[in-house]
């Protein structure tokens, strides 16, 4: 079968693309990694002041999140060699308020 790039993030202006270009939707992107958290309320807790004048639910955040391994704030579509598959592939914005938030639950 042909190895097509992921929908929505293919050829255009792709850089550093060598490890990425053969990626499929189930491929090792940051958003599918267990080191990554994109859960909005957790991000608002991690970044003091974020909810004062903005929000982790804002469109401008797209699906960025925190990489706990590299201690960086990265796009969900990024990737690295240390990918570790998350236990359950979750939708980028799915979360459980009660278990993850210390501020709002």
């Amino acid at each position: 079968m042909s190895e097509t790039p992921e929908r929505g993030m293919p050829e255009a202006a792709s850089v550093n693309a060598a490890p990425l270009q053969r990626r499929r939707p189930s491929s090792p992107l940051c958003r599918n990694c267990r080191h990554f958290t994109g859960e909005p309320l957790a991000l608002e807790t991690a970044f003091a002041g974020l909810s004062s004048l903005s929000s982790a639910f804002a469109s401008v955040r797209s699906e960025d999140g925190l990489c706990r391994l590299h201690d960086r704030y990265v796009a969900g579509s990024s990737a690295c060699a240390s990918f570790a598959c998350a236990a359950a592939p979750a939708a980028p914005f799915a979360f459980d308020t009660a278990s993850t938030s210390t501020r709002q639950s």
Binding site: M9, A13, S51, L53, S54, A75, A91, Q104
Partner: protein
């Protein structure tokens, strides 16, 4: 196996794209704001109005006068609370905040908002600087940085949901023709200041030895859309967590200083409301902070001698400048900086890609609601003469929506103060502070010159 996996993954990707309609506060601001606008139009078309529920306190001069005003209005304030608690509660629940925790917290927020709004209607309020946005902010800051905010109140403190809903409602009071007339000037002015501010912060930051990713995150925080700009660019360039925190801390502190400083200076200089709104829109960092400053200044119209223009002109000019001139370009900034980061800057060990789809994904979608609200109300008003508009459309349709907008902005201003805990901010260090402050200086001075000199006539006319 891949043949089987791919369609389901496609469905998942598609579902994820659609889930944004329910999981982003931008979209909920549209659903709530446009829902209210459409309800108001339907009632107006039936010869009725939402003005019964869109109650607002009136001017008062004595305690007895205030009691006489409020006593018969209890049912209307209760209905207003129900309207907001249901509409905003549904939005908050969709964002993952439990309704059982949102509602009691929102009741407290609503009661505080009523008290602040009533205080702002005191006929001596302007004399003592008791403008509702400033009082709401100061009270919130005082509580959150002294005794602390009780945890049960936190679920209702959703600044962005409130401010974006208010901006959508604001569209109902701005004719589409006015947006088309003033939009290009706002874009030109904002572009000049944004590029100059970003360039200053970035250049000074790099000169002082800051990492380029931190310099870019600080630069867009100062030049484009404050904290939202900082998180958008932080993610696009793969900044360190600490670097995003530094940018957020600096933006919040400077934005709050500007909420108090800009109206104060503009008042001392007796700037017309439209001109002051344009200056605030150019030089404030975040929408919520800027609207607090602009609404404060609008409140001086008719109350402080020497300030020309209508009270709405400050908020309208601010919105055109900030939302149309600056906010909508964040996706472009993110795409360009992501491209530069991945091709020119030091590698981080994380492979990211610059993708033009970023421009739409990061687009602040609530702007669409703002434009849609403007378009539908413009369409409804089309068949009326100016005299008929003033007599029928304004009091029955537009003014009640403006009243609802003021309420939701007041919830936002209270929430800003109550969520800003200075002691939680990271230590930013001297070099980021110097770089950001250099950008602030350029931003404020250039914004002032463009608003009060170069485009002064234009922004003055907006207030007439």
């Amino acid at each position: 196996m891949n043949e089987i996996a791919q369609p389901s993954a496609r469905r998942r990707a598609a579902a994820s794209r659609w889930s944004g309609l329910l999981r982003k506060d931008d979209w909920w601001a549209i659903w709530i704001g446009l829902g209210l606008v459409i309800a108001a139009i339907l009632l107006f078309a039936e010869g009725s109005s939402i003005k019964w529920i869109a109650i607002a306190p009136q001017k008062w001069a004595s305690g007895s006068g205030l009691a006489a005003q409020l006593a018969p209005q209890g049912a209307r304030y209760a209905a207003l609370f129900l309207l907001w608690s249901i509409s905003l509660g549904i939005g908050a629940a969709a964002l993952g905040i439990r309704l059982s925790r949102f509602l009691p917290a929102f009741l407290a927020l609503f009661v505080a908002a009523v008290a602040i709004y009533v205080l702002g209607m005191w006929d001596q309020a302007a004399r003592y600087n008791l403008e509702p946005p400033l009082v709401a902010l100061a009270l919130g800051l005082l509580l959150s940085n002294t005794s602390g905010v009780p945890r049960w109140l936190e679920p209702a403190l959703r600044v962005e949901l409130y401010i974006k809903t208010g901006i959508v409602l604001l569209g109902a009071g701005l004719p589409l023709t006015l947006i088309a007339w003033a939009g290009p000037v706002a874009i030109v002015q904002a572009a000049i200041v944004s590029i100059a501010t970003f360039g200053t912060i970035y250049a000074v930051g790099v000169k002082l030895g800051l990492d380029r990713r931190l310099a870019a995150t600080l630069g867009t925080g100062g030049a484009v859309c404050g904290v939202s700009g900082a998180i958008a660019i932080g993610g696009a360039v793969g900044a360190k967590k600490e670097q995003v925190s530094i940018a957020i801390s600096l933006v919040v502190v400077w934005a709050i200083v500007m909420i108090f400083a800009l109206p104060l200076v503009a008042r001392a200089l007796h700037l017309p409301t439209g001109v002051a709104g344009a200056w605030i829109g150019t030089s404030e960092f975040a929408d919520a902070a800027g609207l607090a400053a602009a609404q404060t200044y609008g409140g001086y119209a008719g109350n402080v001698a020497g300030i020309a223009g209508s009270s709405d002109a400050a908020v309208n000019a601010f919105t055109l400048m900030k939302v149309i001139g600056r906010d909508v370009w964040i996706g472009v900034w993110a795409f360009v900086l992501s491209l530069v980061a991945t091709t020119r800057w030091e590698r981080t060990g994380i492979d990211s890609r610059a993708d033009a789809g970023e421009i739409w994904r990061r687009f602040p979608k609530f702007v669409l609601g703002f434009l849609a609200a403007s378009a539908v109300v413009t369409l409804v008003s089309k068949g009326y003469t100016y005299a008929e508009y003033k007599k029928d459309v304004l009091p029955s349709l537009v003014a009640p929506l403006q009243s609802l907008r003021t309420w939701v902005f007041t919830f936002a201003f209270l929430s800003i103060g109550l969520t800003t805990k200075v002691r939680e901010f990271v230590s930013v260090g001297a070099r980021p502070l110097y770089a950001f402050s250099a950008g602030v200086a350029i931003n404020v001075v250039l914004g002032f010159v463009l608003s009060t000199q170069v485009f002064s006539d234009f922004w003055s006319r907006l207030g007439q």
